[in-house]
């Protein structure tokens, strides 16, 4: 029985880890590319949830079409945000990007509360994945498994994009050495806007995909933002495989810890992060650079 409890906790961890993977990949990409630390990533995640909500309730979309359209609506929002707030401070130390996006996240959450109110909205589990299914004798919500599979699929797509396409090659070149990449004729400014938009879209997709599980409310992005940041720091800033590893470490710690010690699991998470940072300040897969 105890082992079974552990199994369900671990399964919850995998589901949450799949979501964290989506959000931390976006964070990590943008950081690697432009040394931009996007605190508003969680707010973009929340916009994704609200865009889905409005598409479904006001525009009459079904869940699945809305899931596709909502992230596409957030991409231009993210690009405009990058142009207006990140671009003017691109020559300053990276900590300024964190400060500016911190302000932006206040703006977005404030705007959400102004436009949609502070309440929590629930979204029904979309057909045909309602109800539960049996996983090793446990009744488990079917949609969670589907959502996790979808986020893993999209994450794999992001990895493939970065590793296999010509644009991905440029992204990797800039991450490796931005000055050299620029000297070779790669337009870093244009690419940063593009990737920023893409990362915003990913966050919004995660928000929309998670809406039936975690509900929609103005602060929905705060917790996942912090966890994604921890994942990215654990894995080594700007390192995609590291972020992936970090995402699952954070999710597993929270979920398995949460199964046994409830509210104290976040303290356990801090202990894990602390131990890693004390022994490896550059993160698990980071190479020599203390961020």
């Amino acid at each position: 029985m105890d082992l079974n409890f552990l199994f369900v906790s671990a399964l919850n961890g995998v589901i949450y880890g799949a979501f964290l993977l989506l959000t931390s990949l976006g964070l990590s990409l943008v950081f690697g590319l432009g040394r931009v630390v996007n605190f508003a990533h969680g707010a973009l995640y929340a916009i994704g949830g609200y865009a889905l909500l409005d598409l479904m309730r006001r525009a009459g979309f079904g869940y699945w079409p809305a899931l596709v359209v909502a992230p596409l609506l957030v991409v231009p929002v993210a690009i405009v945000m990058e142009r207006l707030t990140i671009f003017p401070i691109r020559r300053r130390p990276e900590i300024y990007t964190l400060l500016v996006t911190f302000g932006v996240s206040f703006m977005i959450i404030g705007a959400i509360e102004y436009l949609w109110g502070t309440g929590t909205s629930l979204i029904q589990t979309p057909a045909p994945f309602g109800g539960t299914m049996s996983v090793l004798g446990n009744q488990y919500p079917r949609y969670r498994l589907v959502a996790a599979a979808l986020s893993l699929l999209v994450s794999a797509g992001v990895f493939a994009f970065v590793q296999l396409t010509p644009i991905g090659l440029r992204i990797r070149a800039i991450t490796d050495d931005a000055d050299m990449a620029e000297a070779l004729g790669i337009d870093t400014k244009w690419l940063l806007s593009l990737v920023f938009g893409g990362a915003g879209g990913l966050a919004a997709f995660a928000g929309a995909l998670g809406a039936p599980i975690f509900a929609v409310q103005p602060e929905m992005g705060t917790g996942i933002l912090l966890d994604s940041f921890l994942a990215v720091i654990l894995g080594g800033l700007g390192n995609l495989p590291g972020s992936a590893a970090g995402a699952f470490i954070v999710a597993m710690t929270k979920s398995i810890g949460g199964g046994y010690i409830a509210d104290w699991s976040i303290a356990l998470l801090f202990v894990v992060v602390g131990v890693v940072l004390v022994f490896r300040p550059t993160g698990i897969l980071g190479r020599g650079r203390v961020a």
Binding site: L98, F102, G103, M107, L226, I233, F270, V278
Partner: protein, 326 residues
């Protein structure tokens, strides 16, 4: 790009105001002391008390951000922790002010020693996030440890503080207590930043690698700065819990860390006058706006963004640009 060693000042842009001209702080202190006797109402005095408590808090943040170059997104931690430690002790044991301070400051210092040891392993962005994580841990504990913190309801019914056998009543008396502590903290920090220790912190802010290269124990100094900063924030938190007669987990919410960061940046990083001006401005503006204006949070974020982009040295920087051109 990351490998380039930057030799110029990478730290917060620093405005020069307040040092080398003691007349200004002295006049300010005098004005603060006599303020409640100039015919200000109870409401204004109370609001100013809150502002000055925030000012102590903002100065403690400035020691980390402005002088050591460690931007933190979790500075509500030391402040909020002190509200709980002081509030609980005052209610359950005794509201004797010196005793309360000893207890709350010991708790804050102990937690800061442990968490600071971990947080100061990293700097820059990672430090900002780790400090936020520490604050979130405390927030969760404040919500979850119901036996002591009473969960989301918060700790209520904290009695009035007593000092040398007499009760300090709200209003002018409590205001004067706050002003006294504010001046003491200002003088103390003013002294600290010009000691060799303080100079070392500023060397670390200017260039961490260089500081390490000339033999400074960077990690130790960052750790100490972290602990001192939390300690001073704890003083403010202890006053705050008496002023509000209670506390809730919301004092540990991340937006509070954002508020204190905003006050400090608006006022001017790397000055000690700046955070005081920033805190007073913040509290009165917030009071003005939240009563008439629903989109306060949006407006606050917008101003925050504009200030960081356009005036990163804050009000003090603007002032010094106009008044003391070299």
């Amino acid at each position: 790009m990351a490998r380039v060693v930057v030799t110029q000042d990478r730290g917060a842009p620093r405005a020069r105001l307040g040092w080398g001209r003691p007349a200004l702080p002295l006049a300010g202190a005098l004005l603060l002391v006599v303020f409640p006797f100039l015919g200000a109402g109870t409401f204004t005095t109370t609001l100013l008390t809150e502002a000055l408590i925030y000012a102590i808090w903002a100065m403690s943040l400035d020691l980390l951000v402005g002088f050591t170059g460690l931007v933190t997104f979790g500075h509500a931690a030391g402040f909020g922790l002190a509200t709980y430690a002081a509030g609980w002790f005052a209610r359950e044991v005794a509201p004797e002010l010196p005793l309360v301070f000893v207890v709350s400051q010991s708790v804050v210092a102990a937690v800061a020693l442990v968490t600071g040891f971990v947080a100061t392993r990293v700097s820059g962005v990672a430090f900002a996030i780790i400090s936020l994580a520490i604050c979130q841990v405390l927030f969760q504990i404040a919500v979850g440890w119901r036996a002591v913190t009473e969960g989301m309801d918060g700790l209520v019914g904290v009695p009035l503080p007593r000092l040398f056998g007499r009760t300090i009543v709200p209003g002018v008396e409590f205001y004067l207590l706050t002003v006294t502590l504010l001046i003491a903290v200002y003088v103390g920090l003013r002294w600290l930043v010009d000691t060799p220790f303080g100079r070392t912190l500023q060397a670390i802010r200017t260039n961490e690698q260089r500081a390490a290269a000339i033999g400074i124990n960077v990690r130790l100094h960052k750790w100490l700065a972290f602990v001192i900063s939390w300690f001073v924030a704890g003083l403010a938190g202890t006053l705050f819990v008496f002023m509000k007669a209670g506390t809730t987990p919301m004092v540990l919410h991340w937006s509070e860390s954002g508020n204190v960061l905003a006050m400090t940046i608006f006022g001017g990083l790397g000055t000690l006058i700046g955070p005081i001006v920033g805190a007073i401005g913040f509290v009165f503006l917030r009071d003005e706006f939240t009563t008439h204006f629903r989109a306060w949070q949006f407006a606050f974020g917008l101003v925050f963004v504009l200030v960081v982009i356009l005036f990163p040295s804050g009000l003090a920087g603007l002032a010094s640009r106009f008044w003391s051109r070299p």
